[in-house]
């Protein structure tokens, strides 16, 4: 199943990268004469209220979802590693940082992102920043718990006894041992970031409406469900499929890294 997930994801990435060469037209080109046309050979996924080609918008929309998902996974993992390593090793910092993280984790992540987006201008960068802030505490928690176990290991004690400097202990002995669980966590962060981006765009707190993102296309279909269901259907299917692929990949990696868990989950 993980391979299926990987294949779907690769296909989505290829679609996103090659968007201009996949029979698409300008996703923002308005054509009032052909507005709200049902799917046909001219417009595979139909047209929206402004006559824009939904197929082109969905194909270009893959870019936004993938960029947001991957960027949030990457940035929150890097930030989580840095903060988690520091709090795991600097004792006086630990209670302060962890209380802040507890507080952040007590705010449901979509709400935290909404509050941030209400205060900034709508842009893809701000969406990434808002979702990252909501995801970082979970990564910090994981890194810290791993570090707390690892630093009691004898090989770490041995390295310190042999006079290894702290940065070197962190880089050579701790970091390589937390990569695997972080990779798994990263895929789940990626999947949930894609969903959060779509939710934000759908309720009008995400990427600017002119940018074709799957959430935005569905938001336009919101008031037209009775007459133009395809506006919701196609981006919704693409989003679900992509998130499913990411989750399958994560499950597969988790099983491969922890066979004991694989039997249970």
């Amino acid at each position: 199943m993980a391979i299926v997930g990987g294949v779907i994801l690769v296909v989505m990435i290829v679609v996103a990268v090659c968007a201009p060469w996949l029979g698409t037209i300008d996703p923002e080109a308005v054509s009032p004469i052909t507005r709200l046309k049902a799917p046909s050979s001219a417009h595979w996924f139909g047209t929206d209220m402004l006559g824009r080609d939904v197929y082109s918008r969905v194909v270009y929309g893959a870019r936004i979802s993938l960029i947001v998902g991957l960027a949030v996974a990457l940035i929150s993992t890097v930030l989580g590693i840095v903060i988690g390593l520091l709090t795991g090793y600097i004792r006086w910092l630990d209670p302060i940082v962890m209380r802040v993280m507890d507080g952040l984790m007590s705010i449901p992540s979509v709400l935290l992102a909404i509050a941030l987006m209400a205060l900034t201008k709508a842009s893809v960068g701000n969406v990434i920043a808002a979702i990252t802030l909501a995801e970082v505490p979970r990564v910090v928690r994981l890194v810290r718990s791993l570090v707390l176990t690892l630093r009691e290991q004898t090989y770490v004690e041995a390295a310190i006894a042999a006079g290894t400097s702290l940065p070197r202990v962190l880089m050579r002995h701790i970091l390589p041992n937390i990569v695997a669980p972080l990779l798994v966590q990263g895929t789940y962060v990626c999947g949930s970031a894609m969903i959060t981006e779509a939710i934000l765009s759908f309720i009008g707190a995400g990427t600017p409406p002119n940018i074709p993102s799957w959430g935005n296309i569905m938001a336009e279909g919101r008031s037209l469900i009775q007459i133009a269901g395809y506006l919701i259907l196609f981006p919704g299917l693409c989003l679900s499929l992509t998130v499913l692929a990411v989750n399958l990949l994560g499950d597969g990696m988790r099983d491969a890294l922890d066979p004991r868990l694989a039997r249970r989950m």
């Binding site: 205060l119 009008g204 707190a205 679900s240 989750n247």
Partner: protein, 313 residues
């Protein structure tokens, strides 16, 4: 036990204080002038100045925070910029639909998910088990609003069994109230069911491998008694934990579900506030929902002692 409850209550107060501080500081952490963003693109400098005064943005940070926290301690969540009404009153008016939706979903989801997980664990490896696991992966991947529209297309538009949108107060009768909540609850609850069923199955499989379960089977107890009396109670702690953590999904999902099904609840209030850049409302809703989330998880923590008497704090 009492000492533990007191300690736990104290740490809850600390977390709530941090939440309040974070929610308040967001106004200052975000780059640029929040008043200009709230005022919108066509605002005049007088408009921006008015919002500055309204939010008290001209005072030092700690003075503002002290004033805001003091008001909060008296139940004052601020005043809406758009309607000029107290935020607490606006939220109060919208409580019923949101409470109906989330409570319905919570009860039904737990009632469905736990048996699913228990049976899947008891029949591990069979087609039923695989079906439950496949459902749980799918449930995680289909966003709540996509599922909501699939349900609307199928049961409201094509089959015409249930209303497309809208809400009826429970005062207008139980059946109309329930009819309007069926589709929203299924849409909102699916991911929650997936989460709980998966954890129930994993936790049950752990317990079923224990020696005392084999002993119970060996002394000839009925399979149901072993499963429910011995296994489920011992598997309950992780299940309770995930039920508590999953409430965050319900809260986030409720905002979206209310938008799709046009339920006039707190989520709808939030989405309207986003469109109007009415920050005090968003701030108030964030605080209230976070407080509920924290309190639910406090209750979950305290429930551990009931399920596992060995836990003595």
């Amino acid at each position: 036990m009492i000492a533990y409850v007191v300690r736990r209550l104290f740490s809850t107060v600390v977390v709530m204080a941090v939440v309040a501080f974070v929610v308040f500081s967001l106004l200052y952490l975000t780059p640029g002038d929040p008043a200009a963003v709230i005022a919108g693109d066509i605002a005049t400098s007088e408009d921006i100045q008015r919002i500055h005064q309204r939010l008290g943005l001209d005072d030092p940070f700690l003075v503002q925070f002290g004033r805001w926290a003091g008001a909060l301690a008296h139940g004052d969540l601020g005043t809406s910029i758009f309607t000029n009404l107290p935020v607490a009153q606006l939220i109060g008016q919208r409580v019923e639909p949101t409470l109906s939706l989330t409570l319905c979903t919570l009860v039904v989801a737990i009632a469905v998910a736990v048996p699913l997980g228990v049976v899947a664990a008891a029949k591990a490896g069979t087609w039923f088990d695989r079906a439950v696991m496949a459902f749980s992966v799918l449930g995680f991947s289909v966003p709540v609003f996509v599922l909501a529209y699939i349900l609307i297309f199928t049961f409201a538009v094509a089959l015409d069994w249930l209303p497309v949108q809208g809400y009826r107060s429970i005062h207008e009768g139980f059946w109309p109230w329930l009819r309007h909540l069926i589709l929203p609850s299924i849409a909102l609850g699916t991911v929650y069911v997936a989460l709980i069923a998966r954890m129930t199955r994993a936790s049950m499989l752990d317990v079923l491998a224990q020696d005392y379960v084999r002993t119970a089977q060996a002394k000839g107890l009925a399979p149901d008694q072993v499963l429910l009396g011995h296994a489920l109670k011992n598997a309950a702690v992780p299940i309770m934990t995930i039920i508590g953590i999953g409430v965050a999904l319900l809260i986030s999902g409720a905002i979206v579900t209310e938008t799709v099904f046009a339920l006039p609840g707190i989520g709808r209030l939030t989405v309207d506030a986003i469109l109007r850049r009415d920050y005090p409302i968003i701030q108030g809703v964030t605080l209230i929902f976070s407080a509920i989330y924290v309190l639910v998880n406090l209750a979950v923590d305290l429930s551990y002692a009931f399920f596992d008497p060995r836990i003595r704090y």
